[in-house]
């Protein structure tokens, strides 16, 4: 990977977006639910930087990061969506769990665990039929990996050699269910062998490592050699969603993982000192504040337009 300030900035933007989301939520300025990926930013940005414009993304419920790491993402439109405004990516109809940027081939976050998996095979099939050199990436969690959809989709991609990267973000938990309790194998990437495809486990908190594995996987896909299962091991710092008391894990475990924060880690690679990092943080926060202002000054959808878009 070619290192870049932009990558660091992108991770910090994601972090700042989610911290703001959390704050807005606590203040009662947004409703619904949301899933924060704080601590997992390296996976999102490692993925985003490894892909090419024109590739497709099918995202998870914990997808703010991937959305912001994807091509052409606009944090103002994301914030507006999060706040249910007409100017949001989905005109306020989707919300946190459904942010999509269809123009940029970001086919959306998904409220259904594993919901993107079956569609990913179709994206790969379509690429193959249209004979482009695009790649589809589907992001899903360690929990999603136990849905039947995983099995059906990976098998299909395998037999048809579809250009799909199955990116499993193993953040150790599915809500309260630890991966060591929900499956009997050491690495999720081992499941690749059940489909005769390549599986790789990577340190999900190491931006460059994620990038390199994803870039290699993308190259394999573009070469027509079929799908790859990538497991990125990482950790979710926050609770699953707003109402999580986190009784299923220890404070020590969380603190331990927080020491592996991908942001300072990568800033060291770039040789940032605390001052430069702080300056960047300010810069990023200003962008987030501007996004909030944009969202808050945007209109809410007209109730009279409620039926618009159910059908074409």
């Amino acid at each position: 990977m070619i290192h870049s300030d932009a990558h660091l900035r992108r991770m910090m933007l994601i972090r700042a977006f989610e911290e703001k989301a959390e704050e807005l939520y606590a203040l009662g300025r947004v409703h619904g639910t949301m899933h924060l990926s704080i601590g997992q930013e390296a996976t999102a940005v490692g993925m985003g930087t490894a892909m090419r414009e024109g590739d497709y993304l099918l995202n998870t419920h914990r997808g703010h990061g991937h959305c912001l790491a994807w091509f052409g993402s606009d944090v103002r439109l994301m914030m507006a969506e999060f706040m249910g405004r007409e100017t949001g990516y989905c005109r306020g109809r989707g919300g946190s769990m459904h942010i999509a940027n269809v123009d940029a081939n970001n086919l959306g976050a998904n409220g259904i665990v594993g919901g993107g998996l079956p569609m990913a095979a179709g994206v790969g099939l379509s690429i193959k039929m249209r004979k482009t050199d695009q790649v589809g990436v589907v992001v899903f969690g360690d929990g999603a990996n136990n849905e039947g959809a995983f099995h059906e989709s990976v098998n299909l991609a395998s037999i048809w050699k579809l250009p799909v990267i199955y990116l499993c973000e193993n953040n150790q938990y599915a809500m309260s269910m630890a991966i060591r309790k929900s499956s009997n194998i050491a690495d999720i990437s081992q499941r690749a062998s059940a489909y005769g495809i390549r599986g790789v486990t990577v340190d999900g908190n190491d931006l460059a490592a994620v990038h390199d594995v994803m870039a290699e996987a993308a190259a394999q896909c573009r070469a027509g050699e079929g799908p790859v299962l990538v497991e990125a091991k990482t950790y979710r710092w926050r609770g699953h969603s707003k109402s999580d008391r986190q009784l299923y894990r220890t404070r020590e475990e969380v603190l331990d993982w927080q020491k592996r924060d991908p942001i300072p880690r990568y800033s060291k690679v770039l040789g940032y000192d605390e001052a430069r990092l702080e300056a960047l943080r300010k810069d990023v926060q200003a962008e987030i504040e501007a996004a909030v202002s944009f969202a808050e000054s945007s209109p809410e959808p007209e109730v009279s337009a409620i039926l618009e878009g159910v059908y074409a």
Partner: protein, 328 residues
């Protein structure tokens, strides 16, 4: 006009759509060399090759999902679920993804796909191969639901469904595949969401779907001999429903019998009755609105029980006669 079977009409529609548009393809279990469990895609592999007539593993969730993913990215998939029963394995993708994507994404994405599946009983295949689940899909905003009852409609509705930018659930009937009827050669369309009066009559409105349409027409012939004239209305598209012709007919005859094969409880008949009961036809009703539907029973294997589980011609005759005679 030339006559084709319902299966042949569907096949011709598929062929014409595929010839006209390279984005259209067919995917499902055994649709290739086998020609589909009911022969609908017979011979299509030879013309279009394995890249456009695609055999899948037995994975109904991913069949639906692959259609959605392909539709989202510029293709026009026509998926096949071998028996409607197995679509129970595809519901998440159809209901939570296909039906909602356009709306959830603010109208910015499109899922132009068709999912074909044969429903209904009558082949002795028992409870797990005889489902009539259409009303599930009717209850899902974002989906369209089509149920052709003739070879003519089968072809024309299929072509219209493939043109349509929305996900369409296309429900065929196993017992109709071999029925014959006139089918033009050109690639005509039967517009979605157009109910049609297939037989005019003064005394009783019969709203029937799928296989119940020919049965209602047979009943109408019988009753005509007794001086009772049935008006048979075929919605053809169940959702979005064109209720106008149904209400107009109810208003005209004042007596309504709704007939379908699915179990009565929670079935599409309730929707039809409710549309009429809330409409301006209400004031013209001369009798209770009656439903004649499948019994609330899993379809039994034994031939006699299987037959008794769903409306037959004689049942329609009996119910319509009672309505006409004011016996309700």
């Amino acid at each position: 006009m030339r006559e084709l079977t319902y299966a042949e009409a569907l096949r011709e529609g598929l062929r014409q759509a595929m010839r006209a548009d390279a984005r259209v393809f067919v995917m499902g279990e055994d649709v290739g060399i086998y020609g589909g469990a009911f022969g609908v895609t017979n011979g299509m592999l030879e013309e279009f090759g394995a890249e456009r007539i695609i055999d899948t593993p037995i994975s109904e969730a991913v069949i639906a999902g692959a259609c959605i993913g392909a539709a989202l990215t510029g293709m026009r998939p026509v998926g096949e679920i071998q028996f409607m029963d197995f679509v129970t394995l595809s519901m998440e993708q159809l209901v939570l993804q296909a039906a909602k994507i356009r709306y959830m994404f603010g109208g910015k994405a499109s899922v132009p796909m068709v999912l074909r599946m044969p429903g209904g009983s009558g082949t002795g295949a028992a409870a797990q191969h005889s489902e009539s689940l259409e009303n599930w899909f009717v209850n899902v905003p974002g989906l369209k639901v089509v149920m052709p009852s003739t070879p003519y409609d089968a072809k024309g509705l299929l072509l219209a469904a493939i043109d349509d930018p929305n996900p369409v659930i296309f429900i065929e009937h196993k017992l109709l595949y071999k029925t014959k009827g006139p089918v033009p050669e050109e690639a005509y369309r039967v517009p979605l969401s157009q109910s049609v009066v297939v037989r005019p009559g003064a005394h009783v409105t019969v709203v029937a779907t799928s296989i119940m349409v020919p049965r209602a027409l047979e009943a109408a012939t019988t009753l005509a001999g007794e001086g009772i004239e049935l008006e048979v209305v075929d919605p053809r598209t169940l959702a979005p429903l064109d209720a106008g012709p149904i209400i107009a007919s109810a208003r005209k005859t004042g007596k309504v019998l709704v007939v379908h094969e699915a179990p009565e409880r929670g079935g599409f008949g309730g929707e039809v009755v409710a549309c009429i009961a809330a409409s301006e036809a209400f004031d013209f009703l001369e009798a209770p609105i009656r439903r004649l539907a499948g019994l609330d029973v899993p379809i039994p294997y034994n031939r006699n029980l299987e037959r008794a589980a769903v409306p037959q011609v004689e049942d329609i005759v009996r119910e319509a006669r009672r309505l006409a005679r004011g016996e309700y």
